[in-house]
Subunit: 346 residues, 4 copies
């Protein structure tokens, strides 16, 4: 049985890790870290866990935690994991970091987009970008995983096959993304109050959102060259879900069948990526509560562009689910263990 | 492996049965009955099941079905199950009826409140009212179960202990219930369109809702006498969840501890009923996606009344989850099998 | 032109006062008071007012304000108005207080339920309870009005005629109320975040909500005796609207027509109270954005009870609209001035 | 007083016309046409109008109607207006058609995208495209106005200045639009049920939506050449509002101030178009219930693109409000008459 510690267990991603790991046969959470709720019963913070989780919240002492657990999930704000991790800790335990600290290989890019100094750049090289469908083999057995961002996971998986196969002009990629409000976290801010979000849609972080360089870097690897693209996130009045609608210029005439074959080449054997049938658009409701990503595309012959669409649950495949998937790979377990719940509707 | 057939598999309760049974180790759906979608792939009707369920929808031929399966769930409009069931069918298979056809023992009460003739009253006596926490022993091994209504399950479990112990005046019970919109079903009606339900709350069926006599009958058994009560349902702009706020006059002075002891007497060992801690009110979000019912109460010394509150997920404990719980009991399985998912939040 | 000052202009009720007064021919806001946003442009706080309101937010200096305006609306937390008001101020200007400070005549009741000391009890006697439909004549020409609470307005108007005419047992009144989230204000609290409120319904303040004594006092005047009743508020995932479902025992057999005649007696000539047609239940969507209160009832012959229902927009008739209605009465204007917008749907 | 007839008065746009015209000093609805609800009281179909509108619904006899009214609004499905209008009718009354029948000058384009035969192409040439801010002078005094589509109004007003001034590459325009559900109409369809729309976002009509050629035609006039662009609409779980996020390649280096000057050139004197302050993104909540369009832009120096954003209320400026604005222009009234309500929030 894998002993798990969570730092940041009382955020939305942390609560989802708890939920998913309750259904995992080979792992058990033994440390519910939460700076805000130390000594409070976890089930008082998340009443859904009443009579299910009896533990109280612990501090975020990573050194002590490293002695007690086999893997630490850090579901914390940017910078925290990088400020706590040490070689000594990594010798004792594995870390899956749900923040952005180890996602971007070029530390200057990280520091520019995030506006903070990186406190442990010495581990960046070692960290593996935990997008399981693409970096599966690299993840196995590793001790430090950078769990991808929610928008990033959806964007990359939606666009990756066409970039990899050179079907689209990588200078023309535009990603218009829409997210449910759980992505904004559980902090008490006026902008995230019910009455401010409900009955509204807005773009935010236009041209400046931090997931931009992360997408560019990963798609750049697929293209074999640097990519600059546009990424615009939007806030949608719903709890969960991310929808990516992305656009690019096709570099040559292609048929539906040819593009479908490209998607199938990469995803036919992927349990968690579903390439939908012709003309069926991904919708967030169909993946809610699950680790699935639904993708599809539509060729626009009038303009020579292609629309690539993807949908996932930002709290599962966009955060906690992918983290568990990474844990499974790191520990040599079946990659799907604990992640096979069907999406819940409505 | 129990072979399961579902008649009405494309309603919301039907889809939830499919979802729950996919996670059940000892049962497997082999017949997806749907009069509206015959020959259509189930996953085209419910895209969440894409690449998970490959079957196509079948008709609702119960005779044929009875030959093929061990248990039939009927998640259909009132009257359908009663019109199809025969002794011959019941000799071959078990039936768990999610409609109201076999819930009410007095056929004249059924016919008055539902406004339809009962087509097979000969099975009413035999049918067991499948409220597992109360009728557990009667359910075991039976062949025909009347699965309780959603409002009913929540109302009865919330009030039952105090009626059973004689703590409240049974002439004074008022139940004010609130439900998410999935309870209204998937039929295309103007009243259930997004723009009609969203940003609105309304009462409906005031003094005439069909769950009234069902609650009265069951609480009457607990009281050992006839009960008449008020029941008012409301439609809430959310997908899932029922909250019951009920009121009654206390027949004597009681302390918090005394009432808590009464709730604990009946529910302390019940897996799916959680008596919350003092002053914590049940909320539908904390049970979403799960088979739990959260209950609690508050004594109002000023008026000599008690407020009894309960929350459940109408699609799970209020329909499909309780149906699976009944199946487990009927077949001698662990009652909680396939039903242990933690509630999902947010 | 009446010069208006608002203290608390950046709360939801304050913003609604601004919206309503923009459409008022005889009044103009000249002071947008907001302790939190002093010196910030009002339209930066409420972007709906961009290019409509050019003013910046001012402090809440009531003495200075009294010199400049004809009437002050205080849309502020409990206790603030009472701590600022003086005889000197009231000699210079009128005050309409949207908080509870002057609603309850018995200062000990106020202090008990609100848990704060009343700082200017000397004005309680003078203050008129501004429920226009009931206290119209008393309001005219007065200088200090206690604007009723949102739940209170809806509850009293729904029940008042039957209490006044002695048709119901005043010991049996139970009020189950449901409110949109704007009633919780614009403060940044975790409990009011989108993901916490959305897809949820809960009761709160059970047996202890502060609007209870206010309802009891006003209905007590109608009954000519003290009343104790139960009041339970609920939080609904919508922005605006309050629905009251209330129950009471009838003291004698009455017909629909008799009760309808009682409602008509009090409301037939009331512009803002609409007694709906038989069997039509009030719904919050039909009054949204307007000053209307929709009421109706249903007799339950089985139990000898009556269900009385009412719906209003908590930000309009439950707060800012009623405040404007009071202003109109105080200044001798047409009571409906600035309040005749039809409800907006959807 | 202008006598108004509405054909299609019981759709969402029809109800909004009624609401707006109730607040219009110079116009009065005298004919509430509704094929589905003939002889039913209008206020029974839209309970918000109880005690406000006493009329019953009439048929859609345009010939008879033409004799009685000064202007007819047709808020009806595509094809209906074209099938009813005659020279004789237009000699007696003016028509403002809220459907697409007279929006597109090339009848073959209309018939291709809408899949129906145009029944009165002889009036297409005469009809004026009623986008008031652009075609103001042409609208005055005319008898047949094609009221623009909701997505179209938002898209064109957002992009128009930059196309007109030649700042963007017209081959690179991508419009990603998001709409509230009222845009889908009041028809009873499973896809628009509350539980299907709530907690979901999806794209639809990808590469094929009928507003595409309408946007292309109008922006083509501004560019002085044919334009082909991509347009993708999305359905958002909210009642009202459209947000357009559009992208294009800049044809030269420009500063914020230069682009701002271009927007101001066209919109500084426009009452209903608000160019927001730097870095403020349009949000649908800030225009709800009003005739405003909020627009803004962001230059992305990294990619040489510009993001152009716009928000409006689809039922007001996207339908009924713009129709009233057109009526005002046609009849020589102040263009803003009846349209000056401030947006309502929350």
């Amino acid at each position: 049985m894998i002993k798990v510690g969570i730092i940041g267990a009382t955020g939305y991603a942390g609560n989802e890790l708890v939920r998913l790991l309750l259904g995992h046969k080979e792992a058990k959470v033994v440390w519910y870290g939460s700076r805000s709720y130390i000594d409070k019963k976890y089930s008082e913070v998340y009443q859904n866990m009443f009579e299910i989780v009896d533990d109280v919240c612990m501090d975020d002492n990573m050194e002590e935690l490293a002695k007690q657990v086999d893997v630490i999930f850090t579901a914390t704000p940017q910078g925290l994991c990088a400020s706590l991790v040490t070689e000594d800790i990594l010798k004792q335990t594995k870390i899956i970091d749900l923040s952005a600290d180890f996602r971007i290989k070029d530390v200057s890019v990280y520091e520019k987009w995030y506006g903070i100094e990186h406190k442990s750049p010495q581990f960046i090289e070692e960290a593996v970008y935990g997008l399981c469908e693409i970096n599966r083999e690299d993840i196995k057995g590793k001790r430090l995983i950078a769990n991808p961002g929610c928008y990033t996971t959806c964007s990359i998986l939606t666009i990756y096959p066409l970039v990899k196969e050179g079907l689209i002009d990588t200078d023309s990629i535009i990603i218009d993304a829409k997210s449910g409000t759980s992505g904004a976290g559980r902090g008490a801010k006026v902008a995230n109050l019910f009455c401010e979000v409900n009955e509204n849609i807005k773009a935010y972080g236009v041209t400046t959102h931090r997931h931009t360089p992360e997408i560019e870097e990963q798609l750049g690897y697929a293209a074999g060259k640097d990519i600059k693209l546009m990424f615009t996130p939007h806030l949608v009045p719903m709890n969960r879900g991310i929808l990516v609608t992305s656009y690019a210029k096709l570099v040559k005439d292609v048929t539906y069948e040819e593009v479908k074959a490209v998607y199938d080449k990469y995803y036919k054997n992927e349990k968690f990526v579903r390439v939908l049938e012709k003309d069926v658009c991904p919708e967030t409701r169909w993946v809610e509560g699950s680790n699935y990503v639904d993708v599809n595309f539509k060729i626009d012959e009038r303009t020579g562009h292609i629309v690539m669409m993807g949908a996932l649950d930002n709290v599962v495949k966009g955060a906690a689910g992918q983290a568990v998937q990474n844990m499974n790979l790191m520990f040599g377990l079946d990659e799907t263990m604990g992640l096979l719940q069907a999406p819940m509707f409505p």
